[in-house]
């Protein structure tokens, strides 16, 4: 992968969305509160980013109720996992020093 030609996925390339996907990569599922606490963002901001990730097919969002209170559960999709791996490859390409012949 050429350093100059590396194009980072614009859907992932935002700190909050990258943080969300990083968290979801290592768990089966996480709820809204967990993501809010660990990403350190506001509810409104998190909600916006989750919607964008869901619309892009990177995560699945399930809304349920627990003790009459809404509960939002998020999980990364196979597509999201694939694109996250590709994103990591791109970062690796950028950070790996180019070999001089």
């Amino acid at each position: 992968m050429n350093k100059e030609s590396v194009q980072l996925d614009p859907l992932i390339h935002a700190p909050v969305r990258l943080a969300i996907l990083s968290l979801l990569m290592t768990v089966e599922e996480a709820d809204f509160t967990y993501l809010k606490e660990h990403t350190g963002t506001t509810e409104g901001n998190l909600s916006t980013h989750l919607t964008r990730l869901e619309e892009g097919g990177l995560i699945s969002v399930t809304k349920t109720f627990h003790k009459k209170r809404p509960k939002t559960i998020c999980a990364i999709s196979p597509e999201g996992r694939k694109r996250f791996h590709h994103y990591l490859s791109c970062l690796e390409a950028i950070l790996t020093p180019e070999k001089t012949e």
């Binding site: 990258l18 943080a19 990083s22 968290l23 290592t26 768990v27 089966e28 970062l91 950028i94 950070l95």
Partner: protein
């Protein structure tokens, strides 16, 4: 994109990954629960079976203990499931492992001796060896170093038990239960609570 921004992204990913590593679903509670149940069952079965002179009472007490333990575990899991905010892959693997080893304990501790595969006096050695293996795999899976020590306590106790007269073998297992199961269970529970407070 410059390397500095890429480096920041990598740091962010690393930070998030380290946060999820802390997630375990209250395992210490289950360790301590089963430790106490087995301890009570071991002491009472040993005393009652030997005083009555009826080995089958031993199996009845252990079956009862496993039934009560499973029921309480099921209630705990159901409550935790409702409360939990994150479910990790380790939770799933840990659950499967607990179930698998539970069956192994049932077979080796109750079914095989009842079928006459080996005498009742061999139970502490076989079940102790399985308990050590369970703790060793758990230690590897969750990277809880102190559980490696607990596994070795169990294995050492089974060797000690095999060297003791068979009517005293239970004491080696009682020792292993306290220092290789109940104490680590409480340590784990304390660590989890401390981790939750620190977050």
């Amino acid at each position: 994109m410059n390397s500095h921004k890429a480096y920041e992204d990598v740091q962010l990913i690393k930070e998030m990954l380290s946060k999820t590593k802390k997630n375990v679903m209250g395992s210490g509670k289950y360790f301590a629960l089963w430790g106490y149940i087995i301890l009570v069952a071991a002491l009472s079965s040993d005393y009652i079976a030997s005083s009555l002179g009826k080995p089958w009472v031993f199996s009845v007490i252990w079956l009862g203990a496993m039934g009560i333990g499973s029921l309480i575990t099921f209630i705990f899991i159901s409550t935790d499931k409702k409360r939990t905010r994150v479910k990790t892959f380790f939770d799933r693997v840990g659950g499967y492992m607990g179930g698998g080893f539970g069956i192994a304990f049932l077979l080796s501790g109750i079914i095989y001796p009842a079928l006459g595969v080996y005498p009742y006096s061999t139970i502490p050695i076989v079940t102790g060896m399985i308990a050590g293996t369970f703790l060793f795999i758990t230690a590897c899976l969750y990277q809880w170093k102190f559980l490696f020590g607990a596994a070795f306590i169990w294995w050492a106790s089974t060797i000690a038990a095999s060297l003791l007269p068979y009517n005293q073998r239970g004491w080696a297992i009682v020792f292993a239960l306290i220092f290789g199961y109940i104490v680590p269970g409480h340590m784990l529970h304390y660590k989890e609570r401390k981790g939750q407070r620190d977050e």
